[in-house]
Amino acid sequence: MKLAYLYYLNKDDNYRGGVLLTDEKTKPVEFRITSKVKLEELQKILYGSSLKEVLFKEKFGIELLSALSENYDIVLTQDKEILSIRQYIGAPVIFIRKFDPFMPKDRLSHKVVNIHEKFEPLIFTISKEDENKLIFISKKLNEIYKNFDLLEPFKRVEKAMEYLKYYEGK
């Protein structure tokens, strides 16, 4: 099973997206990153609230995923709104974050725990299209979660982006 970690960063109006494809041991298989996008003030005004939709989903999300030369089985994101890219791609999208006990229960979400208590409990949310696959996918991800932190690869992408920024600034 290959996991596509889709991530984007917005710092000081500089936008950048990245996708890290890993195997079940979270070892990197492929990594693609977009160039830095600096929006003009006028662009931001004219795109308005649709900016996120256009930039993060259509541009970063879909284009990054379709640029992958390797197949992916699941897309993982930390942004709930990205779930809607499911309609444009051929694999389930999972919104993943740390479990919060005060979170309302929801039929599209499922909690997983690390049996060794090495990592904090997580909660997965799936898009409506894949509702019937939620348990199956959760089980698969839970298997991985026994040994590997499923959230950690996002940090790698973030660090990679910061690393690029550091050198671009030199």
Partner: protein
């Protein structure tokens, strides 16, 4: 009313470019597409081939032909590769993260280094300080805590470090700064994760091009000093060069098997490297100095970690450059011996005992060359001897016994003995060779085994290689290698057998760009074959073929021409 006309569509498309860092086929290699121009970046990976380097040197007065040189200047994307690797977790199966499973004491050592920005790893020789520091450095790169590291080592350990970096830190790209000065000027400016340099080269560049080093040190994150006692004297240029280049470094690690605790000046010099803010205020006592260093020092003795060590540790190969006198002699002898052999080829071609004659003569030539690799004529000084004395000093300080093997009496045993007498007390060693009678040999063995002050057993492989039990020693140094690799392996195996109680560390000394280098290469190629015939000396004589002996003298073509 003024009309507003816009000629262009103000809703500009959000153009982005996507580029690939690596594909799954070989994720730990740098894929070619990384060097494609990336418009958004200033620094683009570039291959500096021999031609490029020559072009860059055009303005320099000294032009050097460096056709074989090829360095990759890492792109930004190459540089960030370690960050994309999974975090190293000591609890996950070791095959994921490490070249070989680490021992528990090594894991402790790695954790000690990671958690100490200033650290002195003073474990005893042979416990794997290089493995520990390489792995700790790799972890920091993967965590994104460091971006650039410098490793300073004695020149003979460059190849050891290169091998360790290759095996133990596969995601990290390293660059060895060991070319001629003109090329080094360029190398200091190339992008890399790790820069490997010898103390002498660093000293030379500090004297020659301080500005280059000043620029280089601006963004350095980690400096590792191997055999850190090299900076024990704060007044030397070597020490000053090290302290200069590491001025801005966030992490500073010193590796040394010599405790240094008994010499205040040495200790303080090292401490100044580890803690640059330290300013010695007046005279401090030995105890105060120890108190300073204690919190940042980790020292384990081999006997403490013995149960964890495997029965058979692979030999460590240390490589040296010939000194000028040796180089001169070596080249002259090589030239004359090649001419002699070529003459013999022509003279005896087609004769019945052609192969036998050539074999004997080539062996004679090889012997001559090997002796020069040990010492130049009429001198007891050589890089091998210097290193051996350094090693002995460390071992004796740790009250460890050591066996030294050589193939030669005059250019081995005798000159090594003179060095030992010159450097240490003459009573600390015994010799063992074919010119001694039975009772002398017996006395030498007994003395080495029973006298706690006899630290060194110095013997020839042929005499001492069989039937001896030297379990008192857990270190063995092969001062030179036999032209027949089988003999080396045979002797090593014997040491391992006789050293079952103690786990033996073996060190092989090899001279760069000499016949010894070819021998060690052959030795690795033939390892399996030799192991199969190790107990049969008669067969092992034939392990190296005539063609291979020719190869040692680099006259292969001539042989082929003569069938």
């Amino acid at each position: 009313m003024k009309e507003i006309i816009s000629e262009q569509n103000l809703v500009k498309p959000l153009d982005i470019e996507i580029f690939q860092l690596f594909s799954s086929e070989n994720i730990f290699e740098i894929s070619e597409n990384l060097i494609k121009p990336l418009p958004d970046f200033d620094k683009i990976g570039k291959i500096y081939s021999g031609k490029n380097i020559e072009e860059l040197l055009k303005n320099d007065s000294k032009k050097t032909k460096k056709e074989k040189l090829k360095y990759k200047n890492l792109s930004l994307l190459d540089l960030l590769k370690p960050i994309l690797m999974p975090q190293i977790d000591f609890d996950i199966p070791s095959d994921l993260a490490f070249y070989k499973p680490l021992f528990n004491y090594q894991i402790q050592g790695i954790k000690f280094l990671i958690t100490n920005k200033s650290a002195l790893l003073a474990d005893q020789m042979g416990t794997g300080k290089t493995v520990m520091s390489t792995t700790a450095m790799r972890i920091l790169f993967i965590k994104g805590k460091i971006k650039k590291a410098l490793i300073v080592v004695p020149s003979n350990l460059i190849s050891v470090w290169e091998e360790h970096l290759n095996k133990w830190a596969p995601e990290i790209q390293s660059l060895t700064i060991n070319e001629e000065p003109d090329i080094r000027n360029i190398m200091w400016d190339l992008n890399s994760h790790v820069y490997l340099i010898s103390y002498d080269t660093l000293k030379s560049d500090y004297k020659r091009k301080e500005n280059l080093l000043k620029k280089f040190r601006e963004d350095i994150d980690l400096v590792i000093l191997d055999e850190a006692h090299n900076i024990k004297n704060p007044d030397t240029i070597k020490s000053k060069a090290v302290k200069f280049i590491s001025e801005n470094s966030k992490y500073r690690w010193a590796l040394s098997g010599t405790p240094l605790q008994n010499n205040l000046k040495e200790l303080l010099s090292l401490y100044e490297f580890l803690n640059p803010e330290f300013k010695s205020e007046g005279i401090i006592s030995q105890d105060e100095a120890k108190q300073l260093i204690q919190p940042i020092m980790l020292r384990r003795l081999k006997k403490d970690v013995l149960p964890e060590l495997p029965d058979k540790l692979p030999p460590e190969i240390e490589k040296f450059d010939l000194n000028p006198q040796q180089k001169d002699e070596y080249e002259k002898v090589l030239y004359s011996e090649k001419e002699r052999i070529e003459y013999l080829i022509d003279k005896h071609k087609g004769e019945k005992n052609y192969k036998f004659i050539l074999r004997q003569n080539i062996i004679y030539s090889i012997q001559k060359l090997r002796q020069i690799c040990n010492f130049p004529k009429n001198s007891i000084e050589s890089p091998k001897a210097d290193r051996l004395m350094e090693m002995l000093s460390e071992l004796i300080e740790n009250k460890e016994k050591v066996v030294i093997f050589t193939n030669f009496l005059k250019e081995g045993i005798e000159k090594i003995a003179k060095n030992i007498k010159h450097r240490f007390d003459g009573n600390i060693f015994v010799t063992y060779h074919g010119k001694m009678n039975h009772s002398q040999k017996k006395m030498a063995i007994e003395s080495f085994k029973n006298d706690k002050n006899k630290y060194i057993f110095l013997g020839t492989i042929t005499s001492a290689g069989e039937g001896l039990t030297l379990t008192e020693a857990s270190y063995a140094v092969f001062f030179d290698l036999h032209w027949n690799p089988a003999k080396i392996w045979q002797a090593e195996d014997r040491i391992h057998r006789i050293g079952q109680k103690n786990k033996v560390n073996i060190y092989n000394y090899v001279m760069n760009d000499t016949i010894e280098e070819l021998v060690i290469k052959k030795l690795n190629e033939k390892r399996i074959m030799i192991e199969n015939v190790i107990d049969d000396i008669e067969q092992t004589e034939e392990v190296v073929s005539l063609d291979e002996l020719f190869e040692f003298l680099n006259i292969k073509k001539r042989v082929e021409q003569n069938g």
